[in-house]
Amino acid sequence: MEITPQMLPILILIPFLGFIFLLLARDDTRYSVRNIIMATEFIICTNIIMLGRFFSQLDIGQQSVQFLTTYKLFEKPKIELAFGLDVFSLMMLVAIHVIFLISIPFSVKKNAKVMSCLSLLMLGMMTGFLVSADIFSFYLFFAMPLIPLFLQIGSIEEVRKSRWMYRFFIYNFIGMIILFLCVCALYHYQKGENIIFLRGVARLRLTHWQEYWIWGGLFVAFVSRIPIWPFHYWIASMTSAIKNPLIFIQINLFPLTGVYGLIRFCPKTVPESVSYLLIGLEIIAAISMLFIAMIGLINKDNRYKLFSFITVYYIIYLQGALLPTSRILLNIGYSLFAFLIIMCVLELLAAYVREEQQKYDLHLYGIICNTPRLGFLYAFFTLSAVGFPLSALFVNNFVILSYVFNYNFNLGIMMMLALIIASASLLKELYLLKDNRYVQPGSVCIMDLSLKAFYGLSIIAILLLISFFNPLLILGV
């Protein structure tokens, strides 16, 4: 089947159609959960196959957007939407689809229909976000995931009681408003343009004050998606209160929208009027990284540790995106690809351990000593996360950090410190789970991962190992 650019919106539509299909499906209490999971997985696999087809026809060497297609949205004022793909966005799409594919069977147990519907909605919106090639469609898909995510996190009692979900929504809502204002301003000041491509934003001619406000607004809007200091406290508290791994993962996919936005919008040379804002951003980013990494180290909750690890990495990617060079864009993409998958699997495994721990009322010390499959996977993914050469994370992070050191040595040092601390806290967690000093022989033990789950996650581990050599190999390129 020949892939044409007009087929690109199908990538976005498939999850939405899946959402509607599941929404209208009958509630059958006997087979409900299994059927829903199978249907959801089928929809995601369909999209992955489509992605594979797109990848097969993509020109890897070309940096610009391919499969470009435009659609008229409004006539008055004239606005057109554009969709397109490049290697970077395709890698992100594959990563996100794989994440949803492996998370749903692990996480969807209670309220299967609602969870699956909302997950498919999120997937569709994230897909739309990543294939957007103009600023208006970018904004639409930047803002749309807010409500489905709010509905999911609101289902958690602890989050509801502490009213963190309000803060989460308002915080992201502010970013959304600012982005909308900037997008409208860009359309306004570029009279006659009915479409403004993402890459074209940097080339627009604006006055000093226009640049100041618009670029400042864009930075604030994208950075608002990342839990930087001083907004990290309640975001971290909320994240660590979330027990459902799928919701945890989706919340931690949100910062990706900020990083991706900066990568797409940010020009190689930031306008002079806002260059000092970058300095401020660097300082805040550095403080945030260290702060969050240190707090992750002292915190005993492993979700908090994972959150701190994820945040540190996102800030590293953010800094990489802001460097005055486009050379490392693909490196950021490859690294993000591996990072997202590792983050997802780690959370799934951690959630499994927590669930088993609660079921058998055991202590966390040495809980995975007698579970070889679980222990192996946990160790593998933790070691990949801390930066050992088991995935694309290793070499691409190396390249990113090299450029950071070249650009700002002190920032590079802070990054490494934060990385070391975050890695240490993850390893501390691994040690805790494997510490068998307090395990009495013959005592009750948790169930090991099922063979199906083990083989599934092992395939993911193999994919990560392949990505270490070349992430594009996974897609047969």
Partner: protein, 472 residues
Amino acid sequence: MFISYLSCMPEILLLLNVIILQIVKHLRKEQTPKTFASISKVFFVLTLISSIIFYNISFSKNWYDNTEYTTLIKSILVVFVLITNGIVCRWFLNQNYNSCRYYQLLSLILIGLFGIISCQHLGVLMACLSLVFVSVAMISENNLDNPIEKIKLRQFNMINNLLLILFMIGGIALIYEKTNTLYYMQLQNYYQKQDMDNMDKLGMLFVLVPILELIGCVPFHLRRLKIQKESILPVASSLSILLSLTGVAFLLHNLSQIFVQSVEVYNEMIFVCGITSVIIGAVGSSSGRNLRQIFGFLEVFNLGIILLLGYPLQNINIEVIFSYVLILILMLMGGYICLYGIRSRGNYLQTMEDIAGLGKVKPYLAGSLLIFCCSFIGIPPFLSVWGNFLMIHQMLNEQHFISLGVIFLFLIWVAYGILNIIKSIYFDKRTRNFERVDVGVYVGIVMTVVLMCYGIIWQENIMDSLATIMRQ
């Protein structure tokens, strides 16, 4: 001549409706709310048809003029009433109330509103406004069970109406004293030639006051909110839209045409009212627990935006404002229709505590309410995105950065209020059983959604049509 009298057919039909309803009430033994609803429906349909047919025929251009613009407004008013007619009728049936008085007063209000839009004489305007305010006061007490509340509402309405009438009379008196005329055309000519003094300004502003009261913006929002909170649901839902739409339509088109050269007198008033409406509307929507009150404050917030879009009056982009108004109407209509579906033990619920857990048992209704609530705060992909885009475009054109900043700052407060509703629907523990939702409610919701989709897909047609009509 006969044809020119026919131009008053819509008003005549409405008046006939009042009379016939009265006759039926007295003569017919078997009366149900549906009886009066059906009769009214017929007359409303005929009104609509006659409005459209006689869209450019005037009774007398000096007194009462029909144009495409007035026809548009009248059509929207009647269409709105028709869409909600079925649900309103069902409400009366469920509550076992008599709907005759409601439909009569509604018809009178419509007559008054039609008159406001079409009249070409300040005296007629005053008469129509008085009719509207008195009818509003009467309809707001309709079917209220609590006598104490009824009395308080009556007192409130009386004082408010009194003040309004005083201002209207004062304004007209001041204007007449200066100009010796109350015809719009003559006033237009007068104000084109003469310089304005303080008395002129005062007169103009006094005339503006009842219009602002009609719109329902700050500081004239209190009565409207009280009615929305305390009156019966059909009254709350219809008045909010009918009155505001007419007020905005009159302000931006008629009033600005009358005092076209001097319309900048209104600018400061409109600006201050707009800003305060935005602020108070936002704060009110985030702090209330009563859904109708919240919708009321949301309306105030959006009316504030509309007023700010209308500032300064000499430079308005009427297509943008009307597009925004239409979007507001759709959102409010959708929201109120959802309220018609939330019932428990025969009572229509209206507080957040009442609707707790609605999402678990009525997912489609809850989903619809969610959609309309999200529309209020501009979350894509709903129609409000387009409205907000137009609004920002217009404000940037006029360089109203402060207004823009205030609007979006307080939009965050509005979002907080909307979150409370969503939380209540989906996450709070259900405390009561909800009754079956009437089919009419779903039909109404679907129609609203279809209209919203139409607005997105064919927005070019809407804008072009509006442009053509507004330029008349």
